[in-house]
């Protein structure tokens, strides 16, 4: 699996014992059932994750207190072949509201046999988050950029420390 590695792209592939149609359905419908709970952008536990299965829809985490986090936009919804969504999450695991600073995730479904499907995931344009990592000059001077950003880092550390002590 070692082709030329593009530093701005992450690939992951898995073969599953399920027909292509089911593979697509489960991925898009039950995303919340397998998405790691370790990266929660809400302040409270996630009650459910909804995928609005249409172009222009969102992927939404809903917290136990009713709060919501729209962290992805559905860019392509092509049953049962292809699903593409934006990754509106900054390197600090906060929601990124500027679409020009978001990356995208493409998931394709290819039948290997009738009952086996190859799922290939490509998370690309990671460099677009680069501004979030090194820039934000204006934000710093207004107090809404790095200081706030880093303050949240700290909050998360505290939260982590108290849960993993």
């Amino acid at each position: 699996m070692s082709e030329t590695t593009d530093p701005t792209t992450v690939h992951a592939t898995i073969d599953v014992d399920a027909p292509q149609q089911r593979a697509f359905e489960v991925f898009t419908r039950d995303f919340g059932a397998f998405k790691p709970a370790t990266h929660n952008l809400l302040a409270v536990p996630i009650a459910e994750t909804l995928v609005e299965r249409r172009v222009g829809g969102h992927i939404i985490d809903r917290g136990t207190d009713g709060s919501e986090c729209h962290w992805a936009r559905v860019l392509v919804y092509d049953p049962h072949d292809r699903f593409v969504f934006s990754w509106d999450i900054s390197p600090a695991w906060q929601v990124e509201t500027d679409p020009s600073r978001t990356s995208e995730v493409e998931v394709t479904f290819t039948a290997v046999t009738e009952d086996r499907t190859r799922v290939e995931l490509t998370h690309r344009h990671l460099d677009r988050h680069g501004d979030g990592w090194t820039g934000v000059r204006d934000g710093v001077s207004t107090g809404e950029g790095w200081p706030l950003y880093l303050g949240r880092y700290a909050d998360l550390i505290t939260a982590r420390a108290s849960t993993t002590g």
């Binding site: 530093p7 701005t8 992450v10 992951a12 592939t13 898995i14 599953v16 014992d17 399920a18 089911r22 593979a23 489960v26 991925f27 419908r29 039950d30 919340g32 059932a33 397998f34 998405k35 790691p36 990266h39 996630i46 009650a47 459910e48 994750t49 390197p91 799922v119 995931l121 998370h123 990671l126 460099d127 988050h129 680069g130 990592w133 090194t134 820039g135 934000v136 000059r137 710093v140 001077s141 790095w146 200081p147 880093l150 303050g151 880092y153 700290a154 998360l156 550390i157 505290t158 982590r160």
Partner: protein
């Protein structure tokens, strides 16, 4: 998985280090410049920079007699590593779900696999 002796998260847990890091995000600086603008002594700034450097958050380079610190551009590669394991985990979990018999729409309360056949 973390190749740094100090986790970047932990390194930024200190408020002084955060402000040093925030200043370096605006402009690369030497130790003296940072010390002039912060209520911290020069040796203390050096010490904080050392921690930030060990955590992989800042790097330095020599410019004549001075050493200039700036935010480490390898943030991208660390983001990549993190997302790489995120998606590996996600697909592995997805495989477990999709290979189960269909149980209809997700039940978010299910944190454990469903019980086996009861007698």
């Amino acid at each position: 998985m973390n190749t740094y002796a100090i986790d970047g998260w932990a390194a930024l847990g200190d408020p002084t280090r955060r402000s040093i890091f925030a200043r370096l995000a605006v402009a690369p600086s030497a130790v003296g410049e940072l010390a002039d603008r912060l209520p911290v002594s020069r040796p203390a700034v050096s010490q904080h920079l050392k921690v930030l450097k060990t955590a992989g958050l800042v790097t330095d380079e020599r410019a004549g007699a001075r050493r200039i610190y700036h935010v480490d551009q390898t943030g991208l590669s660390r983001l990549r590593t993190e997302l790489d394991s995120y998606w590996q985990d996600t697909l592995a979990a997805y495989k477990r779900v999709v290979e189960q018999p269909d149980r209809g729409p997700q039940h978010p309360e299910h944190r454990h696999p469903p019980p086996g056949d009861s007698p």
